[in-house]
Every structure is written in C-alpha cells, then in structure tokens.
C-alpha cells in the first residue's frame, strides 16, 4: 500500500500539480507583495502630506495670535480652536511652551509624543512626523515648531511647538483591504493553477495511459493493437511511432508464422507421400523375412537388410507424422480412467521387457487410478524405457508414485532410471529436442531421433511435465509428472 502511495505521489499528475501550484503561488505572491508595497507607500505618503499641509495651514492661521510667552489658557484656547476646525478628521492638537502644556482632548495624548520627536521639534525649525502604534491603532504624530522670521531673513524658534495626533484608521483599513485582495488573488491563482495542472496532466496522461495499455496488450501477444493519433505534438509523434513499430512487428511475425506453417506442412506432406510406398513395402517384409533363408547367402542378406530398413523407415515416417500432428495442434487426448500401474505393466509386457533388464516397482493393481490417454501413456513409457535400454545400461528401473501438492493437487510421478553413464551435462537442456543426438559418436541408432520429443509432446498434452537428470550415483533418470484427473 505504501509503495502504491509513493508511486502515486511520484506520478506525473502530482508533480505537475505541485509545479503549477508553486509557480502560481510565487508569481501571485510576488506580484501582490510588490503592488502592496507600492500602494501602501503611496497611500500613507499622500495622507501624511495632506495632514501635515493642513496642520501647517491651521497653525499658520492661528499663530499670529500667539503671544511670545503664552499662558496655559491661551495655549488651550488655541489648540481647541485648531482641533475644532478639523473635528471631523479626529484631530487631537497639543501645544507646549517650556513646561506649559495644552491639549485639545484628554491629556493622555501626550503619551503619544516620543522623546525623539520632541527633541527633533526642539532642535529643527521644520515639521517632524512619526508614525506610532498605540493599542493596535496606528497614529500619525506631527510636530510643528512655531518660528519667527528674523530681520536677517532667517528664522528662530519661538519655543512654542504644536503637535498633532491623528488616527490613521482609514489608511490602515485601506492597507488591510489590499492585503486581503492579494490573499484572495493568491488563493484564486492557486486554485486556477491546480485546475490547469490537472487539465494539462490529463492531456499528457491520457495518451500516455493509452500507450501503456497498448504496450501491455502487445506484450500479451495482441500485435494488432493500434493507438488513435490526435494532434501533432511529441506525444502524437510517439503514438505514431508506436503504431509503425507495431505494424512492422505484426508483419514480421505474420511472415515468420507463414514460413513456419509452410515448413511444417512440407514436413507433413513429405511424410504423407512417403507413407504409401512404405505401406506397400511394409506389407511384404514378412514375406521377405520368411523367404530369405531359402535364398543364396548374399541375396538373403540383401533381402533382410531391405526388410529391416523398411521397418526403420516406417517408424521414422510414423514418428514424423505424429510430430506433424502435434505441430498442427491436431493431437487430441482420448481420456479414460485407467489403472495406471496395470497400464505400465502391460506396456512393459507388450514390448517383451519382462526379464531382468527392466525392474518395475509399481503399486498394487487397483490402487492408483487416473484419467489419462492410455495410448499416449504407453508411448511415453515405451519411449523412455526404450531410450534407457539403448543409451543407458540395464537394469532400467521404472517406478510409479503419487505426489500430493497443496496448490496443484495430486500428481503421478513416473521415473525411469538406468545404470549407464548418464547424459552429458551440455546435452541435458536439449535432450527433448527433435533429432538431438546426445552421443555424437553414435550417429545411427534404432530410434528415429524423435522418441523423446514425442514423449515430451504427449506429456505436455496431458498438462504434465517431463525432465531429465543425472543421478549422483551415475545413470540418467527421466521423471514424468502428470496431473491426476478424476472422472
């Protein structure tokens, strides 16, 4: 489950979505922050300029009435009249002259004046402003010293200083609105980006998924699978290449199959054509055998040779035809429930293998029954025992048993082991191939060279397995495993 989750997270879709979202967030936030900074600066600058200008105008208007050493009452009257003129803007006006202080509102407003501001006002002959935060509310504090023009054209401080404390709630609200707008824009941009990413992923993933499905189907052997090609992008190009490859592959495979069918049909036809003259010859071999002793020795030998080789040729042609039937898929199982031990015993008896050359260790009759094709089982066992007698050494041991497999059910195990030199290691993988000769020095033998191949085909037709091995103590052992089917 974890592996699946990790694969999903590493998938193209998630990567695309994350990529789009990051790009959208960075660009939205970047643009928003820049715009916010500019807007905020502009808003505050402007409001502060306006306030300072108005304050200066008001003080200018009232300043001529200020005595050079005003009393507290005079100062109070003055600040009250300035504040009254700008009541709607929430102005709080303060004034100081040496230790005398006057305020238009409650005295607490003096707390908003920082020492630095007062110092700056006391030293400079110009307006000084500062932005302060008090209890979470922003205020603009402006200090304005009253100066007198001197006769020399300069100016000197009168010692009277006016202060203005004005709340900047409106400006703050404006800034907050900009922040909210940037936040909103970012959220919308993110949402839009995710949506776009999903759409893009779909556009990319759909052809990719189609390609993956097509590749899988092709691997399963459906070479006729083709993709719908839409558009002219790289993915469409890829799909087109896939289609071309599939078409080429299909053509080659079809050609190969055609050639193979042709070759097989040729082998089958040749065998078939050989069979009729062989049938005529085979019919008279017994006549030849019986007449041979009455002929002169040379002719008699020649006649015997013809008879023997005719029999060999007949076996070879029959084996070839049997092989052709397997190749053509025409071999069918004629299943019957049989007593397997009894069947093996009869196979051995019918070939005359009842002497000490073949030792059979078989279960008692009636104990082991299975649904098999008796003719094919006979061929399998006869071929293996015949092969063991020819290429191995007596005694050949034939044993029959049952293996119970938890997943696969019951299997019949037939083992044919000999006491010969065994099979060369390099020959083992090829031993069931047609006309394979494990022993190169013995180019000719009684067998057609197809016996083991036919054995393997017959076993496979039953859904079974056959394999060859060498025993540690010497000698080869062939093991046939057949699934036990019940009627």
């Amino acid at each position: 489950m974890w592996a699946k989750a990790v694969r999903f997270l590493r998938g193209l879709r998630v990567r695309l979505v994350v990529g789009f979202a990051v790009v959208a967030a960075v660009s939205a936030l970047g643009t928003g922050l820049l715009a916010f900074r500019e807007a905020r600066t502009g808003v505050l600058q402007r409001s502060q300029d306006v306030v300072i200008e108005q304050f200066r105008d008001s003080i200018d208007a009232f300043a001529p009435g200020v005595p050079s050493a005003p009393t507290g009452e005079e100062l109070t009257a003055l600040v009250d009249s300035v504040a009254r003129a700008h009541r709607s803007q929430g102005w709080q006006v303060l004034a100081t002259y040496e230790d005398t202080r006057a305020a238009s509102g409650p005295d607490g407003a003096f707390a908003r004046l920082s020492p630095e501001l007062r110092e700056a006002v006391a030293e400079r002959a110009s307006a000084v402003f500062q932005r302060v935060d008090a209890d979470g509310r922003p205020f603009l504090v402006v200090g304005l010293p009253v100066t007198y023009a001197s006769a020399s054209g300069g100016s000197y401080l009168s010692g009277v200083a006016f202060y203005l404390v004005v709340p900047q709630d409106t400006e703050e609200a404006y800034v907050q609105a900009i922040i909210a707008a940037v936040e909103h824009a970012t959220v919308y941009a993110l949402g839009g980006a995710v949506l776009l990413a999903l759409l893009a992923a779909r556009g990319v993933l759909r052809p990719l998924r189609a390609l993956r499905g097509a590749t899988r189907r092709m691997a399963e052997g459906h070479l006729d699978v083709r993709l719908d090609v839409q558009g002219s992008d790289e993915l469409a190009e890829l799909s087109r290449t896939f289609n071309d490859t599939a078409a080429a592959l299909e053509q080659s495979v079809a050609e190969l199959r055609r050639l193979e069918v042709q070759a097989r049909r040729f082998a089958a036809d040749v065998s078939h054509e050989l069979r009729t003259p062989l049938a005529a010859m085979a019919a008279v071999t017994d006549v030849l055998d019986e007449g041979a002793p009455r002929l002169d020795p040379e002719t008699g030998d020649a006649v015997r040779l013809i008879s023997e080789e005719t029999a060999r040729l007949s076996r070879l042609v029959e084996d070839l035809m049997e092989m052709s039937r397997f190749d053509a898929g025409a071999a069918a199982l004629a299943l019957d429930e049989i007593d397997v031990a009894e069947s093996l015993r009869r196979t051995l008896a019918a070939r005359g293998w009842t002497d000490e050359r073949v030792v059979a260790r078989l279960p008692a009759p009636g104990t082991l029954r299975a649904r098999l094709d008796p003719r094919r089982l006979d061929v399998v066992v006869a071929n293996l025992v015949g092969n063991a007698l020819r290429h191995g050494a007596a005694p050949v041991r034939v044993s029959l048993g049952v293996r119970h497999d938890r997943t696969e059910g019951a299997w019949l195990i037939i083992e044919v082991a000999d006491e010969g030199r065994g099979i060369p290691e390099e020959a083992l993988p090829h031993i069931f191939e047609r006309f394979y000769k494990a022993d190169a020095t013995r180019a000719r033998s009684e067998s057609s060279g197809l016996g083991l191949a036919i054995t393997a085909e017959n076993v496979h037709l039953h859904g079974g397995r056959v394999h060859a091995a060498n025993r540690p103590r010497g000698g080869a052992v062939f093991t046939v495993e057949l699934p036990v089917r019940r009627a």
């Binding site: 009729t276 062989l278 049938a279 017994d286 429930e337 009869r346 196979t347 006979d378």
Partner: protein
C-alpha cells in the same frame, strides 16, 4: 482357405497386401474402388473384408455402412494412425476391428484370425446347452443366435461376441481392457475406443434391451437384466 476381399486404391499397396496375405494362405480378391468392392461382395462371398478408409469416390466409411445394411461379414478397416476421428466413425459405421497403416502382414493375419474365431463355435462340440434367457433376450451360444422378444437380431461378429462375453457372467463388471482381450484378442491396451464404439452399435441393435448393457463409469461395462 479363408477368402479375403481387399478394397485398396493404391496399386502398390494392393499388390503388397495381396502378396502377403496370399503368402499367409488366404484366397485374396482385390477391388480398386468402393463401388467395385460392393459389387464383388455378393459374388465373391468373402469370409472377411479388409477395407481401406481412404478411398477415392465412395469412401471407406460409406462402403462400410452399405455392407452392414445387408451383410454381417467381418470388416477390418485400414486407417492412418492418428486419424482418430476417422477411426471412431469407422468403428461406429460397423467395422469390427482396425489396423493402422503401414500394415504388416503378420499383424493383419492375426486380426483376421481373431475376427474369424468370433464367428466360430464357442463351446466344445457335443455339449449343447439350451438357449439362455436374459429378460427379453434369448441367447443361443451354440447356434450364435440372439433374439429379442422373439425376433432374431442381426449382429456383426464383434457385437455378438461382445454380448456373449458380457452375458456370460451377468452382474460382473468387465473393464474395457478385459473386453478388448476377450473379444478382439488385442494385446495392445490403447484401443478402448473399439469397445466403446462396439457397445454403442450393440445397444443400437438391442432396442429396448439396450439397458441391459450398463456403463460403470470409470471401470467398464456390465450386463444386468434387473
């Protein structure tokens, strides 16, 4: 000297088999086509017919069926190995036995002798048991006559021999292999389809008595009237 009607289209094979059977002591009448074989059947009155299934024109199967319509002469068909369908169809068409091409004279001789024995007497001369009655069937083992509800049945030699073998021990299950050995004298045990095809034909001829021949699934056949 038993007389054999050989129906084979290939001249070389025909000549070979003729030669071989003649050598074994048979009187061989050869026919090239199915039509010729049927035409010569009546005049030649052979003891056994050896019939190639692969014939041009009228096929071996048709010849087999037509012979069976009027005659119960033993028929041995010659088939190609592996053409199992043809073989089964041939057996159901009424052939008594089969040999596989290329056929050796000794094998064919053995098969011919076996079918001929089926129509010979089954018990020693001098002992003539009474005809047996099994349900609605009457079996005369000496005269080799089987009647069902009084009507005599036309059984081919294998069918007759199969019925005689089965009814000899009512209630006992005989495996296909046992039947193969008793009726066909085959030592090769792969030919159980001979038995199945013959049972099918026998049941077809027995009519309502067909139920006496029972299939014991996985084991063989059994004759029981109850």
């Amino acid at each position: 000297m038993p007389r054999v009607l050989l129906v084979e289209d290939d001249p070389a094979v025909r000549k070979g088999v003729e030669l071989a059977l003649g050598h074994q002591g048979y009187d061989v009448i050869a026919a090239t086509t199915g039509e010729e074989g049927l035409a010569r059947l009546a005049s030649a009155r052979p003891d056994v017919v050896v019939l190639d299934l692969m014939l041009p024109g009228l096929s071996g199967l048709d010849v087999c069926r037509r012979i069976r319509e009027r005659d119960q002469v033993p028929i041995i068909m010659v088939t190609a190995r592996g053409d199992d369908v043809d073989m089964v169809v041939g057996l159901e068409a009424g052939a008594d036995d089969y040999v596989v091409k290329p056929v050796r004279a000794r094998v064919l001789d053995a098969r011919i002798r076996a079918v001929l024995r089926r129509i010979g007497p089954t018990v020693a001369e001098g002992i003539r048991p009474l005809p047996e009655t099994h349900g609605t069937l009457t079996i005369d083992r000496t005269g080799l006559v089987v009647s069902h509800e009084g009507a005599q049945l036309q059984l081919a030699p294998s069918e007759l021999r199969l019925l005689l073998t089965l009814s000899a021990s009512p209630g006992q299950v005989l495996s296909r292999q046992q039947l193969l050995e008793a009726v066909w004298e085959h030592d090769y045990h792969g030919d159980i389809r001979l038995v199945d095809a013959c049972v099918k034909r026998l049941r077809g001829k027995l009519g309502s008595a067909a139920r006496y021949v029972r299939t014991v699934r996985g084991f063989g056949y059994c004759f029981r009237t109850s």
